[in-house]
């Protein structure tokens, strides 16, 4: 998985789009920058399989010692698979946010939602501006 080829939401979720049997499947996670900013993660709530996702709407939450942060869906779609290993081993997010740290896979129902997302270099610039 090469994060330079992923798409990114302003809210720090990444999307890798693959085509399986003619269906666009999005793998979704949160960026290394987001993990670094959150620090001390202790809890993550995953969505249910089959749950409808709407671009820019909350689909779950991640909690650190300090605070709770919502996770926003970068796409319109439906949850197909969730990374059930993740909640019990959140350190995976620090170790491999773009690989083993994936959060869910979802069928994309409206591809136009991808147009709102940033490429890697644009996202990096946003992170730089965030400090």
């Amino acid at each position: 998985m090469n994060p330079e080829q992923f798409l990114y939401a302003e809210t720090h979720e990444w999307v890798a789009v693959n085509e399986v049997d003619g269906q666009k499947i999005a793998t979704i996670g949160i960026s290394a920058h987001a993990v670094e900013q959150l620090t001390d993660l202790v809890f993550m709530e995953l969505p249910e399989i089959g749950a409808k996702l709407e671009s820019e709407k909350e689909f779950g939450e991640v909690e650190s010692v300090k605070a709770v942060s919502p996770l926003y869906s970068p796409i319109d779609g439906e949850v197909a698979e969730v990374n059930t290993e993740l909640p019990a081993s959140l350190e995976i997010l620090n170790e491999d946010p773009y690989g083993a740290g994936w959060i869910m896979k979802a069928r994309i129902t409206d591809e136009s939602c991808l147009e709102k997302l940033m490429d890697f270099s644009t996202y990096q610039k946003q992170c730089g501006a965030d400090g």
Partner: protein, 335 residues
């Protein structure tokens, strides 16, 4: 002081296992000096401070006449000059405490000197704190009793050292001239096994130790009788502002009380979350976090008395989800 230098979890555990340095200069430091200082302060504090020996420190509350808590403070009686007292107050209440003193002083003879801008305060906390700082001091800090203070030298620098803290660990706090703070910070920070800790860890540490935080467990709408801080209220044989209201609240025994809660799972309750017994709301969370030491979520809350017994099974509504929680004895952590 930043929320965190790196990881709150690591700063927290470093305090529990080694020694950490906190810049707590934001705390207010108000000196009151003069013939009437002792009697005047004693008329404001819920705890008796008249007759305190030089070199002693006491934790106390300040109340208004309705029993609402204005602040929780440390009253220092520095060694030597018996007319001199130092109040260490919360940063957010410094101005209102200064006003409160001015309003109440009448014809009393004393001077008020707000030493906050001219001094800095460092907290050095953890099981290794005393042994680490000792070689730099001109006396053996282990001989200074808990909640006592004395003048000392760190290297060539004069300072006031106290055996106090807000973490539930052994350690000390230093009050130093502001212009020397950076130098003293560096000297301590460079010691082996010593690291910096921020406001985030300070909050999780004090919560594990069940120490109240003004604005959360203490406020103008909370009476000391609800807080469980009985040691901080000397009701017999003296009078102070708010005494009648505290006695009345204690007699009526109907206000919500402060309890500790341990939650199931890993999701932490936060301030404002509702505490439920079955379907009924019986209280509100005032502080909550995931405890780095216990590795489970803990919270403090004010709840109805009839549910406040240990092992009482309750639940907390965390953003629409009901999470089981059990009342437990405070503190959550004891060194």
């Amino acid at each position: 002081m930043p929320i965190q230098y790196g990881s709150i979890m690591e700063e927290h555990l470093a305090t529990r296992r080694r020694a950490t340095l906190f810049d707590v200069s934001h705390m207010g430091r108000i000196e009151i000096r003069g013939a009437d200082a002792e009697q005047f302060i004693d008329g404001l504090t819920t705890r008796k401070v008249a007759g305190m020996g030089p070199g002693r420190i006491r934790y106390s509350l300040l109340c208004n006449s309705e029993g609402g808590i204005l602040d929780d403070i440390l009253v220092y009686r520095p060694p030597g000059d018996s007319d001199q007292f130092l109040l260490v107050v919360n940063a957010s209440n410094r101005v209102s405490v200064l006003q409160w003193i001015e309003e109440r002083r009448g014809g009393a003879t004393f001077e008020i000197d707000d030493q906050t801008p001219g001094t800095a305060m460092l907290a050095f906390q953890g099981p290794m704190a005393i042994e680490k700082i000792n070689p730099l001091l001109d006396f053996d800090l282990a001989t200074l009793k808990y909640f006592c203070c004395r003048n000392a030298k760190l290297g060539s620098q004069d300072l006031l050292v106290s055996r106090t803290g807000y973490t539930g660990e052994d350690g000390c706090e230093l009050i130093v001239p502001a212009e020397k703070a950076e130098e003293i910070w560096s000297e301590l920070h460079e010691l082996e096994d010593v690291s910096a800790a921020g406001l985030g860890a300070r909050d999780t540490l004090r919560l594990e130790a069940a120490m109240p935080l003004y604005g959360h467990e203490l406020s103008l709408s909370i009476n000391p009788a609800q807080t469980g801080l009985d040691f901080a209220c000397t009701l017999k044989g003296r009078d102070f502002v708010g005494k009648t209201a505290i006695e009345e609240a204690a007699r009526k025994d109907c206000l919500p009380v402060r309890v500790g809660l341990v939650l199931e799972g890993r999701r932490a309750a936060r301030e404002g979350d509702q505490v439920l017994a079955g379907e009924e709301q019986i209280g509100t969370v005032t502080s909550g976090t995931f405890s780095p030491t216990l590795q489970q979520p803990i919270a403090m809350a004010y709840i109805k008395r009839e549910h406040a017994g240990s092992d009482s099974l309750l639940s907390i509504d965390i953003r629409g989800k009901s999470i089981p929680a059990t009342v437990c004895e405070l503190p959550f952590y004891r060194r």
